[in-house]
Symmetry: C2
Subunit: 457 residues, 2 copies
């Protein structure tokens, strides 16, 4: 693909108006010192015991490409809300700073910075809206996908959610986020083209209905495909459709084998566990133990767990809407906050939204088998045990090295999910707090800053 | 803007893999007859008494531009899953059919087709995934926005949700959908550039924190803006910040009036009603009754209603995450289903997902003051009272005429929302069913088709 089909990486105007207003004010006030901003989640949704960091690759792309083009500046000039001097300056703005970040696919918890930007304040401020927009979405989806992966106990998982994803780029990046968290494939063709994610797909009810008989539809579809196909069996009556699949399989076996054959049947409605068992029994009884069973239709991690706990014989799940919109937690309380400016720590003390001041690092301790024990959030200059999670990825506005390819992010995410304490891998709500401590140094610093604010009264 | 900054309208590969697999099978089986597909919502979320149709403009853009480019075909060829003959055919595919649709901004209900596509089956099938992706998202957001508009009782509403919208194009189109449903402005600059939506924005806590004093931050910001500004007053202590705003306003009044002045204060955390009252009282006491109060911070339609019911003196609300992800109902049970092929009605009878067969129309009856009384879904050839809601917008693959501009969609949406029965305008869940009847003719047809399926056993 010479040009990506959707390029959400252009578009420096995809930002909140106030970023530009503040940029002008920083410019007018000659505020050019270095700022440190950190991106973190204030608290986890009730139905999440951990989150999975995702979207870093696109975040870095965005930083590297940040640039106001002539057409952007012309639009802003036309608003008559910015000075010509400021717009001239904007034309020269590039991201020149540094970014530290959690590697994609790393589980994390509330209050832990997952990304730290260190740059002249105008640049660092300008990034806020789109950086959050990128990282928030993929992290939301990867976190949901990880729960499906845990629930599926090794069964194949396919992203079916494109149609109800929130518009074009959400569909594309939901496929990426789900794949890095352990999904096996996506139905979204553009995600195959853009990210090399394996593509999977069967057929829709409309194809069956357009034929005068279901048997003819199955036959047409199987003969058209170059690969072994999955046939959808719930358009009218699942048991009858499975008999038709068996009849077709018998035909294929008997005839000249021009078709690649039948790989699976898919059931998309009704009592999936009962129908899966009946289909499995019927297929096995006719010697088609190799034909797999794919289930779909409003599935989420809870439905997957219930089906497997009920012993449903299933080889793969298609997960759609619940994955692509993260239906039980479609947004995270994620923020990007100023922690230091001109070498001095800063702190917001708004009720319920206070921040821990200063540039920070997160250390994770593990037991001898690698299982997570506890995390500590500390000031950059404080000593700590364990492994530092935030790694430098951008320096002087450019990535230090290529970020890991998607397949290796996926491998390390799989290993990390297995290192979570077992209680965090349960799907139910509540009661599974993971210990994240804020250092005494940060607490003392926050108190000092609050006291200084009070003196400023 | 010479070129749109984000162009989700390109990208014919933004589809589900099975659409292409079915297209090849239709092609191989020489199925070239006309299909009728309808797009509808099976049932409303518990927290919606009506939905608002949106996204038609982008849906029509998509139909008109549907075209496989060389790079798309090269990618598909490389998958080795399609025949060369089929890919050659795909290169020639354009949308040549018709589309009927509800005008954008029209309220609708479950079981009512809001969009009908009539075209050769390969074309009509290919559209499914992206057409749903477009219409589902904007309809989801417009429906949420309409509830905020009703709750706000005429106060200004601004879309603040870009950062937590689901990636780039969701941010852009959420602004559009919210505006057409009655929002007054957006903070998303790209939506101003693309759709001409008024842009609104204030400043962030980081701007205040970067200054050594809040007073200096307010002064810098006000002097930098060409327009009267809104100052954020909850970074440290709201009451104190309001006193600082008053001090600055006094300075501006006393000094050479180089600054455009203070338009409003914004409160973003804590007890908004109490702080708004205190701020109002303090401003009024100093003669600044013209300085408005803007509230934000985790607001949705329920919070807006509570604030107004509590008598909070508020001029505008910023609504962010709850709007842009439609947090209580982030997806609709929206489907695009085959209703007829080759002149014969079709019906899926999957449990819980059965469809009403044949091409249909929706008629809406109103009382003498214009209030909605009831809707009827009928076969195209059946007589009915009231106004037919589905209008032809595309014929022979091209729009018949320009669709209404956004501002006039917004005007008609406002009028339609006022025509809803009062019970439907309440925000609580349950108990507000609106009468939508399915004609006897459609019911009889469905029974005939089911009987025919049973004979096919």
């Amino acid at each position: 693909m010479a040009e990506p089909m959707i390029d959400p990486l252009r578009g420096v105007l995809l930002t909140d108006f106030y970023q530009l207003a503040m940029a002008q004010a920083y410019f007018d006030a000659h505020m050019e010192d270095t700022a440190v901003f950190e991106l973190f989640v204030r608290r986890l949704p009730a139905s999440r015991h951990f989150l999975v960091a995702a979207g870093l690759e696109q975040a870095v792309d965005y930083l590297e490409r940040l640039r106001f083009e002539d057409e952007d500046l012309a639009y802003l000039a036309g608003l008559n809300r910015f000075s010509a001097r400021f717009l001239d300056h904007l034309a020269t703005v590039r991201f020149t700073g540094a970014m530290h970040a959690l590697p994609e696919g790393t589980p994390f918890f509330a209050d832990e910075p997952i990304l730290r930007v260190t740059a002249p304040i105008l640049e660092a401020q300008l990034l806020e809206s789109r950086l959050l927009n990128i990282v928030h979405f993929q992290t939301t989806i990867a976190s949901k996908a990880a729960r499906c992966v845990i629930a599926a106990r090794g069964r194949q998982l396919v992203d079916f959610g494109m149609r109800r994803a929130h518009e074009a780029s959400a569909a594309l990046f939901a496929a990426r986020a789900a794949y890095l968290a352990g999904f096996d494939a996506t139905a979204t063709v553009a995600a195959g083209a853009r990210f090399g994610i394996p593509l999977s797909g069967t057929l829709a009810h409309s194809f069956i209905e357009a034929h005068d008989s279901e048997q003819a539809a199955f036959r047409d579809f199987v003969h058209s495909r170059r690969e072994a196909t999955t046939l959808l069996v719930d358009t009218y009556d699942t048991a009858r459709a499975v008999r038709r699949v068996i009849r077709l399989a018998d035909e294929l076996k008997a005839g000249a084998a021009t078709a690649a054959g039948i790989r699976a049947v898919r059931i998309d409605s009704g009592d999936l566990a009962v129908q899966a068992r009946d289909a499995r029994a019927a297929l096995d009884a006719h010697g088609y133990g190799n034909v797999q069973i794919v289930l779909s239709g409003g599935l989420d991690e809870h439905a997957i767990e219930e089906l497997l706990s009920a012993g449903a014989p299933v080889d793969a799940f298609g997960v759609g809407t619940a994955l692509d919109v993260s239906s039980d937690a479609p947004a995270l309380d994620m923020a990007y906050k100023l922690e230091a400016y001109a070498g001095r720590p800063r702190r917001k003390s708004s009720p319920g939204k206070a921040t821990w001041p200063g540039a920070k690092q997160v250390y994770r301790e593990r037991n001898s088998s690698g299982e997570y024990l506890r995390d500590r959030v500390v000031g950059l200059d404080e000593p700590a045990e364990g492994r530092a999670l935030l790694q430098e990825v951008v320096r002087n506005g450019r990535r230090i090295a290529a970020l890991p390819p998607l397949a290796s992010i996926r491998d390390s995410c799989r290993a990390e999910l297995l290192s979570l304490p077992p209680a965090l891998r349960e799907l139910g709500e509540g009661g599974h707090g993971y210990p994240v401590s804020i250092s005494d140094g940060l607490r003392a610093l926050a108190e000092r800053l609050d006291a200084a604010q009070d003196r400023d009264a």
